[in-house]
Symmetry: D2
Subunit: 406 residues, 4 copies
Amino acid sequence: MTERNIRVQTLDRGAVEDEAVEIVERKGIGHPDSICDGIAERVSRELAQTYLDRVGKVLHYNTDETQLVAGNAAPAYGGGEVVEPIYILIVGRATKYYVDDDGVEHHIPVDSIALEAARDYLREHFPDLDLETDVIVDVKLGEGSGDLQDVFGEDGKQVPMANDTSFGVGHAPLTETETLVLETERYLNRAFHDDHPGIGQDVKVMGKREGDQIDLTVAAAAVDAYIDGLDDYEALVGDIQSAVLDLADEYTTRDVSVHVNTADDYEDGSIYLTTTGTSAEQGDDGSVGRGNRANGLITPNRSMSMEATSGKNPVNHIGKIYNLLSTEIAHSVVDEVEGIRDLRVRLLSQIGRPIDEPHVADVHVVTDDDTAIADVEADIQAIVDDELANVTDITQRVIDGELSTF
Amino acid sequence: MTERNIRVQTLDRGAVEDEAVEIVERKGIGHPDSICDGIAERVSRELAQTYLDRVGKVLHYNTDETQLVAGNAAPAYGGGEVVEPIYILIVGRATKYYVDDDGVEHHIPVDSIALEAARDYLREHFPDLDLETDVIVDVKLGEGSGDLQDVFGEDGKQVPMANDTSFGVGHAPLTETETLVLETERYLNRAFHDDHPGIGQDVKVMGKREGDQIDLTVAAAAVDAYIDGLDDYEALVGDIQSAVLDLADEYTTRDVSVHVNTADDYEDGSIYLTTTGTSAEQGDDGSVGRGNRANGLITPNRSMSMEATSGKNPVNHIGKIYNLLSTEIAHSVVDEVEGIRDLRVRLLSQIGRPIDEPHVADVHVVTDDDTAIADVEADIQAIVDDELANVTDITQRVIDGELSTF
Amino acid sequence: MTERNIRVQTLDRGAVEDEAVEIVERKGIGHPDSICDGIAERVSRELAQTYLDRVGKVLHYNTDETQLVAGNAAPAYGGGEVVEPIYILIVGRATKYYVDDDGVEHHIPVDSIALEAARDYLREHFPDLDLETDVIVDVKLGEGSGDLQDVFGEDGKQVPMANDTSFGVGHAPLTETETLVLETERYLNRAFHDDHPGIGQDVKVMGKREGDQIDLTVAAAAVDAYIDGLDDYEALVGDIQSAVLDLADEYTTRDVSVHVNTADDYEDGSIYLTTTGTSAEQGDDGSVGRGNRANGLITPNRSMSMEATSGKNPVNHIGKIYNLLSTEIAHSVVDEVEGIRDLRVRLLSQIGRPIDEPHVADVHVVTDDDTAIADVEADIQAIVDDELANVTDITQRVIDGELSTF
Amino acid sequence: MTERNIRVQTLDRGAVEDEAVEIVERKGIGHPDSICDGIAERVSRELAQTYLDRVGKVLHYNTDETQLVAGNAAPAYGGGEVVEPIYILIVGRATKYYVDDDGVEHHIPVDSIALEAARDYLREHFPDLDLETDVIVDVKLGEGSGDLQDVFGEDGKQVPMANDTSFGVGHAPLTETETLVLETERYLNRAFHDDHPGIGQDVKVMGKREGDQIDLTVAAAAVDAYIDGLDDYEALVGDIQSAVLDLADEYTTRDVSVHVNTADDYEDGSIYLTTTGTSAEQGDDGSVGRGNRANGLITPNRSMSMEATSGKNPVNHIGKIYNLLSTEIAHSVVDEVEGIRDLRVRLLSQIGRPIDEPHVADVHVVTDDDTAIADVEADIQAIVDDELANVTDITQRVIDGELSTF
């Protein structure tokens, strides 16, 4: 039926949902590592779109190396200040000069695009970060290696060639603990923030499940301009805790306990107060690819790729594409095929081969008691085959910002 | 009458106005060196004001070393773009930590202040420079040397001590050529710009007088967004030329010829077109103290101080104070005393002595034919004495932005 | 027997050695990410040793964020050159000022130490990298957050408190494929390099096993000064291939095929030639924690920690300590206890608790057919307990450079 | 006799030697501004030589913008240390890519050349500056503006065209005070240093003459490794004073008093002690063109050019060439023509004209009582004419390092 090398097998462990101990973490969008992920991905998207607009195709680039150097701040009830700005260095490669088939020369302002993309991203996501005083954005984008551009240049081909021997992995469905960790951060940074502007974007959520007991540990920065004193702060912490408990009810019937800002010491006056909403203002450096995986989580119970997904070129960077695609495939299968309790998709590329023909696409499945692997094998293969055939959709969805990378 | 060491003598040359050849230059506010001067001085003023607001006195700082690294641009009729942003590094020293007499600790956000001051300055003066895409402002402000702070710390004293053995020099009146050069740049960057937004801020004026023939050479950047083609450009150049000729009539009866953008070559299409209004966008680096002296001019016919005035601390940096003060004195004398054709004031400090007691204040005068030096000596001494007595006014006027430093 | 929370259980998957498909990767010491790892760890060790020498204990620091921006090079047979130097930015926090119990003030030259450590590291490991022309090392080390210093300051305590809720994981024994990948890189960078100076340090090894077929893909930079033409290059590639095949015989009886520099295209003259021995010279950026895990490998078949181990403070950075310790424990158990086919140790910290008392220490075991979990449980617990009791040994061994972190 | 526009006139002031008050200053090679001058000029020379070696002619470049950001140091008797390295940023433009007439492409490693040149310069001149710990050298060299390259590209022409309307000025002979200031610094940094390694390179000499009384104020850094205590320091200061007094006897019969390190306060222990020999280690920033003029001095009694001479391209940068040439001419005239007491040469260029045909070459002379201007006019004109005809010699001598620029 398919010529692609797709294998479906039983996963030789149980479902993560059934393991005795489960650990999950999510670094929220205001964590210094996530700030870097977010900037790198925004820069990537703006570059890709500019290339499309100007020369009709995405040229070689890679911007997956943003480095953040923490600042110094003096937060204070009612509003403190940043004493030493955060320094952000955008690093990568991008094609600056291109001659199109008509002989027209194009100079692409990649540094200016990167600068603006980073500043726009910060402005949109960090309402309490003053771009005029709190952050310095610097750029070092070199030209890429000539060889890599060849891989791109072959126009007639619909499907690009893999630029590396690389590996992507995706899982579905999320466990309850994973879901809780992911949704808690999103909720706090969206709906809760709308009502509670005193919560900053640097929200880190750690979930630990032992048997049926789930502990959610939330570290959430408070923004000093909205906090007039310790009472306000305690109220905010209390609101976070009860809101997260309420949220948890929607996703699990297990026992959930929620701990917020456990390192606080009210006696000492040591609390998690910031001026900008992120610990990047004071001592926490960050860089790309050090935090959440492509599915938004850090899941030591599951196999993970080390590949940094954010900032990479979505046309031919195989690590990026396969991490996103395998995650998409995993969710598609679980959505469409009944009886699957846990599923892992791994895609291994072969350098120089079309990216819709991975060296191996192996799918490991844990079925429920009523389902045999043979019952689902054909359906799974068909879905994988179909998703691989449409691999280039991933590229466009990344450029359009429809796929999150961290 | 006075205990200050004030000497009045005949200048052993004739008036500059009477020399056979005179050369004068002004780098307009958009020249890369002037951009650095302007930023350095704005940073200085904001720091000084912040210190006054927070701790009641100006603490040690010195910010006279801004470095500008040129960008790359692709100007184009109707509007081009900056391809590689200008990089501006603010360098200096500033007190970051201070314990006041009540034991209160102050952390002064000097880096954030410098960053904001620089960006504000650019925003106010460069309407065609997009701060989000065209420029990166970086900051490296260290702590100053401990010793220098002692000079400042002695509170009871009204008049600070000189921090160095240094020298300031001022001249008055300006010659016609000097006046023309100064006023031409100001006019083009103000009234003319209001009517002709296509002229950029990078206006450089060179004046050469041989006998009674004055040549004004103007190099003025055009801003591409306002220039739709070569015709527009030629019209702008023509307007500049005729406007400057008209302006010249107000200041001199000598023959004046005006040359604008002489390096243009219309055949080759080589014209002075920019996107941002400054050559800093393409290849022209800049730094503080490399351009205009404190009176706004470069005057090789006159003795000049090498001291960079912009960015220096106006409380005790004796080079800055004496350059500004000597210029003020020169103008005061010429305004108040009749019969003076040319006048030079030199102030030489003595390290560790109050700045109102210079080691030497010597005034060299060229009087007109009807006036003897003895006729004016006493008046001059009195004015010098009075201005020295009020030396600290200079400090406040600098902080208030009333005195231009470049 | 022990009060520590140590659990020993059956691993709910088979041994990795028995899985159908296995993927393993190692980025050699010359890979840009590994260069950053190596520098960060060297900087860390030198800082730790300096603190010990000067104030008798390790003060707060964290230097796990080195960023490398690739240069540009023009390699050529017989010796090319670096056209644009590699830029390396050392980022982190370190205590610069300390008052000891006797009231003596210490100013620690952390920036100078970092600079020298990085340059020493490069000099020692990269014989073909000219430190005078090929690399710029820059430093941005801030002061850390005050709160963290408290955790450190409590002198009487032998065992530090955990600074975070974090997680470490270790595995033993290595599979054949893992062993091959690890030993191949080490061999090429050591013994092989001694005989073949034409091989650079940027050796990347990817191992893939399907059933009993192992494919080793080696990407090894050649150093142009030792390569006079394509013949030399082909000879080097051939020598690498046969040497690795020979090496493989020592570790496995499975079928092994070795592929070297598969992206080469001799017809196009496109080969992996460098001037410095690392792709950092041309287009490949790098940063800390993006490559090998603490055991020197990237192993998607196994659970991994995202924590960057290199550059972190080995006294109380719990992520670093637990990753190294769990790996040590795993190997100790396998060395001392018979019948274990695969073993995973996970250590989960609890912020504010002594690091020898993890929240959970869980050990998952795959025993061989003749061994029951009950047979080994007590021995394993005893070893884990003992290793935890001696957790602070890890710190000293890290400072002494005995433990590799990448 | 000559078609060049050479004018010889009486100088309308007396000789500087006869003025009542004279002020002269020299910043020694270790002053932060001079360090920048020295690096900029060395970078320039190495670039020029590389272009000559590789493509047979000097391509467009300009490297006159080095910025030094001071470090922090903790000097101590017997040997202290640099706590925070000095940061030096080399700024400018240089041609990186060139296609020669045979169609051969050249990639010139301008950044690597600049880096090495700067480090070599520091190594050669600053024996107490440890390049591994005390200084970070960074480079930002852009490509120049395309237009300027045209001026260069016209091969057949022997004499380049002026790239700007610019101005150079030279004086001869030096006054006694000028000679003393210049020779004092040279002596202290050469012969005296050979015997007294405890003196650093940061020697600043200020000369003030009132009538026949000359005051030399020397600020000389001591190097802590050679100074074991205050006694050593006092001995060094005493040796400097007596050595300079002895030196003065060779150059003048006027009364000379010598003051060394007047800001010292032995009671407070406040002395001018350094670890590296330069105040750049602690709080004193520097940049190019802020210190000595092309003749090595700052001479407010004489007209000076603002043009930074160091780092500029010696082929067509007219400001550099004319400042050096006018100084050469002045000395030649004084050497060869009798009866000249003071002489000033000014060269004014005209953009786009050959540089051996200045717009004006005016020579102002003060003759002694026995000599009329008519007696010397023809000789002077001949010398000026001859030197202008050989203007391109200046270029080669600059590249060879025979001409000092600061």
